[in-house]
Amino acid sequence: MSIPTTIASAAKALREGEVTATELAQASIARADEVDHLVGVYITRFDEQMLEAAAAVDADISAGKQIGPLAGIPLGIKDIITTTEAPTTGQSVVQDLSWGPAIGDAVVIRRLREAGGLISGKTTTMEFAMGMPDASKPFPICRNPWDLDRWAGGSSSGTGSGVSTGVFLGGLGTDTGGSIRFPSAYCGTTGLIGTLGRVPKSGCLPLGYSLDHIGPMARSAEDCAIMLNALAGRDESDVTALDVPTEDYTAGLTGDLTGITIGVDIHAGRPSADSVDPAVDGLLQDAIAVLKGRGANVVDVSVPLYDEGTLALTAIMAGERAAFHMPDAQSQLQNYTAGFRHALGVTTFFSAADYVQAQRVRRVIVKAVNNEVFAKVDLVLTPTTWTAATPLQPLMDEPWKPRLSINTRYWDLTGHPAIAVPMGFNAEGLPMSLQLSGRPFAEGTVLRAAHAFQRDTDFHRAVPPIAHS
């Protein structure tokens, strides 16, 4: 029996009787047994609970009951989002383990279960979604499945590596500066942030109160659309969730981009040449040709105030992070990882006025990008990152040094939806990724373009050699 490798194909196979939910769950467990100790996907596995839930799905199917769109699909959950199976660690010995059980399932988890999803376990992250891997702490180091000496990216590390290796078919990450999109880029998978406020973030440990997104990570845009259908929509428990009607995010996945205009910006945020992989520009040009072949009109654009946006996000995150962590920083600083300790020290450099000023700059930038860019184009295309996955050891040796050439922070600041999509491989065989960003609440258009690209390419189907069996 061949186990399907996407949510869409698994859901189809399940309904056609080609596979059972129990078989999908067993395959997930078997794959985890093969690769988890190498890659560090999980902090906690829920094998028994997942098998019980799978058996319930199979019983419903046998009884002729209607099943949800994610029925029988193994999913991984970043361990800063609370689930009932186990306390949430935040990948930190500082975390108050009574927090999660006091809430139970986060809203997003409840929605995934209502759609029939199987929660396979809690995946590795960075400490509180920001601290670099630290071998001195009792948590797995999350390695890149394409090269174990490289990082999977973060902070949605284990969800990215778990999807890439087929341990599960989809999962949840969070994204405050890029933490869904750049692990997706590094691991060769697809990851989406919706518009800020599209998916409720209650039941999630905060990194940036006005920046945090919860979103789907999966092998394909189609799979992300299926997950977003379950996740999207206001919930009163989240004061930042916006009351905007949802839609069927799979409805626009026709493969046709006629009438869509895509603006390309290869200059915004571009680092010096020695920090740009030689493969990036060629792969992006190949991607443009694919999108044009699907009917898109492609033009050049210039994303406004890009550097200012990165600085504003830094200041905003510093203040919001500090508010949450200050009591623990004062009482148990040395229990944090080295990288997070440095970040907590840096938060003291910012004043209250700096935070407010950054939020004022933010509003100017949002207006500018909507008026100057999205008035003319439907989507903006950029590389997700300027390099492939970074070597792991330097990050662990000196976590306070900035080493990431990522192109994601701007859209967390502005709140626009954005997706990371595999676009090929560099000379070392490491995945490279493109990013498509859209107008507020135009997740359907973002997914439509990503899906159209994936109709003509196979990069999102590639599986790292350690996961071949």
Binding site: L305, M326, Q330, G345, V346, T348, A358, Q359, R360, V361
Partner: protein, 61 residues
Amino acid sequence: MSDARETVVSLLAQAGIKPTADEIDRLVDAYPETRAGVESLYTVPGVRYEEPAVTFDPRQV
């Protein structure tokens, strides 16, 4: 003591955070560039009379 070191030590003390000596050295190294970035936010055009992107609904219960 340099101005940056004096400032960083003071900020950490005010916040009640106690890093190690090596960690303080790294924070002192990071301070000038970080502050330069923050200061540049005050020169972004068009911001002078803009509202911050933080709001709340006073009807919230």
